[in-house]
């Protein structure tokens, strides 16, 4: 999904895909965070952070405000003090935003781990790989299986999933 959001920002999606991604952003907190994060990075690069208005940008600004202003040596075409601060502030923003972006990417990366540390496969990376879910997921599978069984066909299969050993290919 992060890749799709990135493609959306870069205007690389067709209208159908675009609507789907907008749908996710509107309805999914993690997609919304990723959207805000990508825009923040773009804004930081363009030194427009204060105009983004996101919680993350406020956090960055607060951090920067607590930083001492760096006084650079005089140059021939010396920028005034406010410009100097703005340049360093942008550089600082970029560094902090980069570290936060890294954290955000790690948090939002498609390969996740469950409570027991097992790898979960998501999105397009799922094909051909096995997973073992958390106990909570197992519990939901059991609850779900009751109703799958009532379809009358694959009750046996629904329960086979519960005892399937999905960790063999981890």
């Amino acid at each position: 999904m992060n890749e799709k959001i990135s493609q959306l920002i870069d205007q690389e999606l067709d209208p159908g895909q675009r609507n789907k991604v907008f749908d996710r952003i509107c309805n999914d907190d993690s997609a919304k965070n990723a959207w805000q994060c990508y825009h923040l990075i773009g804004s930081v690069i363009r030194a427009e952070v204060s105009s983004t208005g996101s919680d993350l940008s406020r956090l960055i600004e607060q951090k920067l405000d607590s930083e001492p202003t760096v006084l650079a040596p005089l140059r021939i075409n010396k920028p005034d003090a406010s410009q100097s601060k703005a340049v360093w502030k942008s550089a600082g923003l970029l560094a902090i935003a980069a570290s936060l972006a890294l954290a955000a990417v790690v948090t939002l990366a498609p390969v996740e781990r469950d409570d027991t540390g097992n790898k979960l496969i998501t999105g397009s990376e799922t094909r051909g790989q096995a997973v073992r879910f958390s106990r909570e997921f197992d519990e939901m599978l059991v609850e779900h299986a009751q109703f799958t069984a009532s379809a009358g066909l694959n009750g046996l299969i629904a329960y086979a999933k519960l005892i399937s050993d999905q960790q063999l290919e981890q």
């Binding site: 519990e139 009358g152 999905q166």
Partner: protein
């Protein structure tokens, strides 16, 4: 003028021949569909009538897992079954009249215990259900073959859109029991398959064959969960959109047997495919899965909304779980 009459007659005759051919074709297609539908009912009925024991393989994600099964239909029509994994951890599922025990000894503590929704778990597919099924699937007669040393007949259930999988089913000719099932995606690929490699149909299934091998004393027992009253109006949540052909068949609220927390569970079905929506309050500091996950044919989609965890899962394509998940919202 007279010269054109034979020509017209020939044309009419050709047209008549063509429409006759078309009509016969349609009738035979319809007859084949009816026959496939009959087979589907036979499969469904056999599941609730026939004792059997045997070994089947469950093939998914490039893995082959062997499992042992014994099922007994008691005189009162109730069903008892034991399912046992022959590879990896010795997990087993025991299904009784109104309970399911799932033994997962490799997780050391987990024994799940739940009640089922019906007395025998196999209410079956009734003729009336086909009207609904035909809105989302069409049926095709397959070929004859041999599965687990038994004569079998194939029925193809083809999904009409990408919100559900299709099936290729092989039924035992003599009893109708399902011997092999392939789940087919929209690209005509087999997503998962289960097929018997040996089976004994009929005969006596002993209590010993149905007894759990796991050491219950060594495992921690969870459940069953406690049901709470719920209705669509009383829920704080709404599912604003449902994929075509699916409808709400169950709405439950229960206390989770593993952590005691309240879980709202909605079940949507199209007659063959089933999708569950779980809504549970998020716990601070607890890790959760966001986005899409998959296990064999099961897709799941997780997201966070207003400090709650939404999980949608089912043996359906990724689009179906995502579509439903995106429509789950807090009621205004």
């Amino acid at each position: 003028m007279t010269a054109s009459a034979p020509h017209l007659s020939t044309k009419l005759s050709s047209a008549h021949g063509f429409f006759s051919f078309l009509l016969i074709g349609l009738l035979s297609t319809s007859a084949a569909a009816d026959e496939a539908a009959d087979w589907l009912m036979k499969i469904s009925a056999a599941a609730a009538k026939v004792n059997f024991s045997g070994t089947f393989v469950y093939v998914h994600d490039g893995q082959i897992e062997a499992m042992e099964v014994a099922r007994r239909i008691n005189q009162d029509g109730s069903m008892q079954e034991r399912l046992y994994a022959l590879n990896g951890a010795p997990r087993e599922v025991i299904r009784g009249m109104d309970k399911v025990w799932c033994y997962i000894p490799d997780q050391n503590v987990v024994v799940h215990s739940y009640r089922q929704t019906s007395n025998n778990g196999f209410p079956g597919i009734l003729p009336g259900d086909f009207a609904q099924l035909r809105r989302n699937y069409h049926f095709v007669e397959g070929v004859d073959g041999r599965i687990a040393d038994r004569e079998a007949h194939q029925i193809k259930v083809i999904a009409d859109d990408s919100y559900r999988y299709g099936y290729s089913l092989w039924a035992d000719k003599q009893t109708g029991l399902l011997l092999r099932s392939d789940l087919i995606n929209k690209d005509n690929e087999i997503v998962e398959q289960y097929t018997f490699i040996n089976i004994e149909i009929g005969g006596i299934i002993t209590d010993q064959q149905l007894a759990a091998k796991s050491d219950q004393e060594a495992l921690q027992l969870f459940g069953p969960g406690t049901d709470l009253p719920v209705s669509a109006d009383s829920s704080d949540w709404q599912v604003t959109r449902i994929p075509d052909g699916y409808s709400l068949i169950k709405h439950i609220k229960r206390m989770s047997p593993t952590d005691g927390d309240e879980v709202e569970h909605r079940v949507y079905a199209d007659g063959l495919s089933t999708v569950s929506v779980f809504i549970k309050k998020a716990k601070p500091g607890q890790s959760h899965k966001n986005g899409l996950s998959r296990m064999g044919a099961v897709h799941a989609f997780g997201k966070a909304v207003n400090n709650h965890r939404i999980t949608v899962m089912g043996e359906v394509p990724a689009d179906t779980v995502e579509f439903l998940a995106m429509g789950v919202r807090l009621r205004n």
